[in-house]
């Protein structure tokens, strides 16, 4: 530390004392149902990328008066009316059967790269009940790869072909045949108008390594009796590892369960649950696949200890939040400040974020709410939707719906 830095630090401390700072020293409110808190920490999490920011940064902004209610992260439910098959070229040349439950199914055939041959529109033949259907009667909305890419700005598999089965053909089984198919293909069937859907609910938006994943699955139909037959799948980590999902029949339906490993992925991105199901709707075979993505983070740090709420004569409010760090990294706290409005009701006032690089052991992050963002709100204040994030490893570590309450303007001098 240079002489100049020491002088500045001393000056800052003196100014803080002279600024009529008031403070409240307390513990965070007990965790409630739905909150996420960590019991233990890992000290050997994968290193953060070297490009991660090292400077401390805090930022806050006022919420508009018409901001709606802020809620805890909601579970995601995948609703699938589609499935896909991995087939080899020889099978596709002989004819691959697809099953449909609604007229006008959409089909996307994607070659698998390497020496897989592209699908030329003229090479495709559709058969129904063993009889070939003339191309002009079988297909509408033909879209080769170039048209798909021009439309979406996105790269499709080289040689991919999309088309819609003519709705006039009705439903049931169709054979798709590509005479010169070679290599491997994904045949993707989507039935946007089908009444039969596979639902997969993920009740938790973010997991920690070592957690148990439990997804609820059901086959629903608006118009018919749908029965789920076989179901299974796998979890896929961003680094390519996969783990089987075990189907367990429960009173409420079927749960798909897996234990997450204790070692985190060293590749960024979300984990995916791939669910593959086969069932029956009024005697017709139904195939459905669904995908659910979620975050899995190593427990690298947690909020632990006593926090300090401070205010100064200028109206600035600050919260010093204690962080216990297992693995060094860049950590962030973010929260919504609620204040009491003129009618005496608690209302969301502002959002605050603070981040810094923290080494192993005890550290702290300070949320700062300047007077221009707290505006007319007064005590009692509450800190809600408090999250602790590991920025370098992209993980939400902890979450508290209600974290702290300051009944009056902080009174204890610091």
């Amino acid at each position: 530390m240079t002489r100049q830095t020491i002088t500045l630090a001393t000056l800052a401390a003196a100014l803080a004392l002279a600024g009529a700072v008031h403070a409240q020293d307390a513990t965070l409110l007990p965790a409630a149902r739905g909150d996420v808190t960590l019991r233990g920490l890992v000290t050997d999490a994968p290193a953060t990328p070297p490009s991660v920011e090292r400077a401390p940064v805090h930022f806050a902004w006022a919420l508009p008066d018409d901001a709606g209610a802020i809620t805890a992260p909601t579970p995601y439910t995948a609703v699938s009316r589609e499935y896909w098959k991995d087939v080899d070229g020889a099978a596709l040349a002989r004819g691959v059967t697809i099953h449909t439950t609604a007229p006008g199914a959409l089909v996307l055939i994607s070659p698998g790269g390497g020496d897989s041959r592209g699908v030329a529109p003229g090479a495709l033949q559709v058969r129904q009940g063993g009889r070939a259907v003339a191309a002009r009667d079988a297909i509408v909305a033909l879209a080769p790869q170039a048209a798909l890419e021009a439309a979406t700005g996105t790269s499709f598999a080289p040689g991919a072909l999309g088309f819609r089965l003519n709705p006039a053909l009705g439903t049931g089984a169709f054979d798709l045949q590509v005479a010169d198919a070679r290599g491997r293909y994904v045949v993707h069937v989507r039935e946007p108008d089908s009444a039969v859907a596979l639902r997969v609910e993920n009740p938790v938006s973010a997991y920690r390594t070592g957690d148990r994943v439990s997804l609820q699955a059901s086959l629903d139909s608006d118009t018919s009796r749908a029965t789920l037959g076989d179901i299974g799948g796998m979890l896929v980590a961003p680094d390519g590892r996969d783990f089987p999902l075990r189907a367990v029949r429960t009173r409420g339906g079927i749960d798909l369960q897996a234990e997450l490993p204790h070692d985190a992925s060293s590749v960024p991105g979300l984990w995916e649950a791939h669910v593959l199901a086969a069932g029956d709707a009024d005697g017709a075979e139904v195939l459905r696949d669904a995908k659910v993505a979620f975050e899995v983070a190593a427990p690298t740090a947690r909020l632990r200890g006593r926090y300090i709420a401070r205010s100064d004569a200028g109206g600035q409010l600050a919260f010093d939040l204690p962080v216990e760090v297992g693995s060094p990294g860049r950590y962030e706290v973010r929260a919504v400040l609620y204040g009491t409005d003129r009618a005496g009701a608690l209302a969301p006032v502002a959002v605050g974020h603070a981040a810094d690089w923290l080494g192993r052991g005890a550290g702290a992050l300070t949320l700062v709410f300047p007077p221009e963002v707290t505006r007319d709100a007064t005590a009692p204040y509450e800190l809600r939707q408090l999250g602790l994030h590991d920025q370098g490893r992209m993980g939400r570590l902890e979450y508290r719906e209600r974290a702290a309450r300051v009944a009056s303007r902080p009174l204890i001098g610091r």
Partner: protein
């Protein structure tokens, strides 16, 4: 809401004028899922950009971002690159009042910056200069077509799943991926805190693909041919790449195409980044 914000912005602008210096307004164009070195030519078209920037007091105060938005939104080559180019533009032109125009996934990248202001020490200075973001067809809730692309590029093998597709931005725009990021990392969607600056979406609602019609030809007929198929993949209200629900999922809906375009024409996903049906004039008049 937009009117109220305009009033507030006007008051702020007035206050600034009464102070020492007049606001220097600028506009930035942030492209979608692609990697560019010349997005003005390859993505937006010069005619479109030149038309829009005429709405600036100084039409030279514009920047066309060229970054690798095939990466995850938070990646150094994505949001980091956008932040670097915005910061340089702000510094070089003395910008104090910035309107950002995004298309498609560019909206997610700007939402990343505004939702994660502490991620990068450059972010707060950029956010504080943004007046608002006009997000043309933003993929705020992802698109089932991204799921289709990923399914077509992923093969099951005896050893597991082989990841054959390297466009992380497409991977990120799968529906369940965006649901996860909207829940934990991004602001502005239902039930989440508001963004620090307003995010106004322009929503494309339909696709017209009949040849020799103005609605099909603006932006390229081949593109419209593909959009007819992709639109069937989506809900009844879509621009051929994104459901209206995704385009409307974050911030405020400024307008749906037919409410403001010439002759109530629809804007497919490619037309919303071009000077089709008076969109350029609407954006120009908003500066």
């Amino acid at each position: 809401m937009r009117i109220r914000t305009i009033v507030l912005a006007a008051l702020l602008a007035t206050a600034a004028t009464l102070g020492s210096a007049q606001a220097a307004t600028g506009v930035a164009f942030v492209h979608g899922t692609s990697k560019h070195t010349d997005a003005a030519s390859d993505y937006w078209t010069h005619d479109n950009i030149n038309s829009i920037r005429q709405g600036l007091p100084d039409p030279a105060n514009y920047v066309v971002i060229n970054c690798d938005l095939t990466q995850y939104m938070w990646h150094d080559d994505a949001a980091g690159c956008v932040a670097g180019q915005l910061q340089s533009f702000i510094a070089a032109r003395g910008i104090t009042d910035l309107v950002v125009i995004t298309h498609s996934n560019g909206g997610n990248v700007m939402r990343w910056i505004m939702s994660n202001p502490t991620w990068d020490s450059r972010y707060p200075g950029i956010i504080s200069r943004i007046r608002w973001v006009n997000a043309l067809a933003p993929s705020s809730a992802g698109t089932p077509l991204a799921d289709a692309v990923m399914a077509g590029n992923m093969f099951e093998s005896a050893l597991g799943w082989l990841m054959g597709y390297k466009n992380d931005a497409v991977r990120m725009q799968q529906v369940s991926w965006m649901a996860s990021y909207n829940a934990d990392w991004l602001y502005g969607t239902s039930g989440r805190p508001s963004l620090p600056r307003s995010f106004y979406s322009v929503v494309g609602t339909d696709v017209r693909s009949a040849p020799f019609t103005a609605n099909a030809n603006c932006g390229g007929y081949l593109q419209s041919v593909g959009l007819e198929f992709t639109q069937n993949w989506l809900a009844s209200c879509s621009d051929g790449f994104l459901n209206c629900s995704s385009q409307s999922a974050a911030g405020y809906v400024w307008f749906q195409d037919t409410q403001r375009t010439e002759k109530q024409r629809v804007l497919n996903h490619n037309q919303s980044r071009r000077n089709c049906f008076g969109l350029d004039v609407i954006l120009r008049n908003d500066l």
